[in-house]
């Protein structure tokens, strides 16, 4: 009855704003545990969660959580190119690699190839 799905996660919110990021990440890990094919796009302010050298006091370091993605077999990472430029960010400063930059048109095409989309 149930089949393997292609599930896309889009992270759009800044990392320390609310519990939403963590709760969406939990959902991502469970999807992966169910052996669905998981893929991630970081767009808009979500790109800040990828930045190296995060040093929050008293809360979990978001970038450290993201470093566990490869352990779950999730290796396809994408970033919204226009959002990188708008924020003056570069892929070299990101804790995961390789990350493929996407134009907005390429993002739309990627979204279309997936069965299910979750965002934060």
């Amino acid at each position: 009855m149930s089949k393997k799905k292609k599930i896309l996660f889009i992270f759009k919110k800044p990392p320390y704003e609310s519990a939403l990021f963590q709760e969406t990440l939990d959902l991502l890990f469970v999807c992966s545990a169910f052996e669905h094919e998981v893929c991630v796009i970081w767009a808009g302010d979500g790109l800040f969660s990828l930045q190296k050298n995060q040093a929050p006091e008293k809360v979990k370091i978001i970038s450290q959580l993201l470093l566990t993605l490869p352990m779950y077999g999730i290796e396809r990472y994408f970033a919204q190119e226009s959002a990188l430029l708008d924020r003056g960010l570069s892929l070299a400063d990101c804790i995961l690699n390789p990350i493929t930059p996407l134009s907005d048109l390429e993002m739309a095409a990627l979204i279309e190839t997936h069965d299910c989309i979750f965002t934060d």
Binding site: A19, E23, V30, F34, F118
Partner: protein, 133 residues
């Protein structure tokens, strides 16, 4: 088609529940199947008997429960999100040593994300309601 609805809107916005519920009613009317709804983030309070809407607002807690009785589907509340926000069922209350403090409507149940993903695996469409908190 088989649908699963993910609700994650803030219940304090009176109109928030309208779109989700209207969508659910309509898909059933059009002979699609609603496999279940999953409540996450601030929507866990839909299941909270202590969260009562104003007199002139729709009580979606009852609306969803009534709909599920007529056209059976799962109504699950995300366990982690629920516990974090103080919405617990009888089992959870007992486990935490807080018997009789449960506040979940009887038609709703706490469930883990695994249950949600398993439900999504059977669905043709998963629709999320609720954007910015």
């Amino acid at each position: 088609m088989k649908y699963v609805l993910l609700l994650r809107y803030d219940i304090r916005h009176p109109m928030a529940g309208n779109t989700a519920f209207h969508f659910a009613e309509t898909l059933i009317q059009m002979n699609h199947t609603l496999l279940g709804i999953f409540l996450m983030h601030e929507s866990v309070h839909i299941a909270n008997v202590l969260a009562m809407p104003a007199q002139d607002e729709t009580a979606y807690q009852k609306s969803w429960a009534d709909l599920a009785e007529k056209h059976p589907f799962e109504i699950s509340v995300c366990q982690t999100a629920g516990i974090r926000r103080g919405v617990i069922d009888q089992i959870q209350a007992q486990q935490e040593g807080m018997t009789h403090k449960e506040n979940m409507h009887e038609s709703y149940q706490l469930a883990g994300l695994g249950q949600f993903v398993a439900l999504c695996s059977q669905a043709d469409r998963v629709i999320t309601f609720g954007g910015q908190p």
